[in-house]
Subunit: 223 residues, 2 copies
DNA sequence: ACATGCAAGAATGTATACGTTCTTGTCCGC
DNA sequence: GCGGACAAGAACGTATACATTCTTGCATGT
């Protein structure tokens, strides 16, 4: 095995690497919703046999990121606006509970600001992947202190499966400004340790992005 | 291929059969929480190679029914009372939304009564598996008419992963009576098309079972 | 020209086989 | 007698190989 493997992935199993990589491809739009997922190609790209690829695909299928048709294979899940409404509804309900369960004093607001700072230096439309990663990190800095493991895991899943669609609104020219203001309001509420206000601004932020995503979905033509 | 394969499973793929069977084993308590899941044994039992078994296990892992440790294999997930609290919390939030989204006139209350009737003729402690199946069918007769696909799928998952623990309270002598009364209240609210009342009695039913499950969990000694 | 059927190719699904890692029981040293 | 190293065995993880199913393009007939 050559020197080229990124250190972080070196000691992961084949299945793990496949999981991480295929998820990334879908979120980054390398694999588009509705598109067929070719096991042989992935195996070749990831330099493993089809066995670990298939196990990763099975997991992503269970997560809801892929659809499976017997003897035909997997395709990337396509969500219509109703599906996205379901996802955002679940996020609202579950994230609200997470926020209520957290001791806001335990949240690292400085680090959150730090991430916002880094996001400022990025043009979302050009570094979508990095921007998304930071965005996710920002929001989970808030949610991670919660002790409700299973709820957090589910919220995490909801983020993943809708990641590609969420990335769409980043291309809206007015998006970064809105996001910045809403993110600041979130940090401010954290600093003030005002739970009700935090829930209010989080809801506003979530609804705002949902509206943009659904708009964009409509403009992307049907389904 | 001999004649013995149950007709319903004949045309399912190996992975599908493994999924159904392994899930059943866990819910039925053939595989207990914390117990190791032996791939070779399962493959032999299910008359397939380890490949489809592993793909099924990967899916059950993603569903949260199994835990995986690299190079050591899978074990059945163990939930402590906090985990169960998370599950019941999520069920309450999501099932409430499902109920609100349903046209109660579209629910087949007669069929629900029918199932209650059949449950009456069973001693839960003796036919746990069948009783659980009917119980699940009863509740999803109510929830299935909802158009919120993804929410329903998630509620379904929450039922699955906690199925074994839910089965525990069936052994409580006072359980059948409580259940019967609560189930009747649910059907009555459906017939009256009284959403608020339906949510109220559903909450009561859910909290009641949660309390019994956690009690039982405590009596089962730690974790 | 269009629909239908068929054959070649490709992709999936699974069995077998093998290398690697972990577990377990034993032996050695303290 | 007890704890730790070591070796044998078992179990996991994955590559290879093959059977089955699906897709696709062409030929055939209407």
């Amino acid at each position: 095995m050559a020197v080229s493997t990124p250190t972080a992935l070196r000691e992961l199993s084949g299945v793990q690497r496949c999981l991480v990589e295929i998820r990334r491809m879908i979120l980054a739009g390398d694999l588009l919703p509705g598109q067929k997922v070719h096991q042989g190609d992935l195996a070749e790209q990831l330099k493993v046999s089809r066995i670990p690829v298939r196990e990763a695909l099975a997991q992503l299928h269970a997560e809801g990121l892929l659809v499976h048709k017997p003897n035909t294979g997997f395709t990337v899940a396509r969500f219509n606006s109703g599906d996205l409404a379901d996802i955002y509804l679940m996020r609202r309900l579950l994230e609200t509970e997470l926020i209520r369960s957290i001791d806001l004093a335990a949240v690292d607001a400085d680090l959150m600001d730090d991430i916002l700072e880094r996001m400022d230096h990025l043009r979302p439309a050009e570094s979508s992947e990095e921007y998304q990663r930071l965005n996710r990190e920002f929001h989970f800095l808030l949610l991670d202190p919660s002790a409700m493991e299973l709820v957090r895991q589910e919220v995490s899943r909801l983020w993943y499966i809708s990641g590609f669609y969420r990335s769409l609104y980043l291309y809206e020219p007015e998006a970064p400004g809105h996001l910045r203001a809403e993110h600041e309001a979130i940090v401010a509420a954290v600093r003030a340790e005002d739970v009700d206000e935090l829930i209010r601004v989080s809801d506003a932020h979530r609804s705002g992005t949902e509206r943009l995503v659904v708009q964009r979905l409509g403009r992307g033509r049907e389904r």
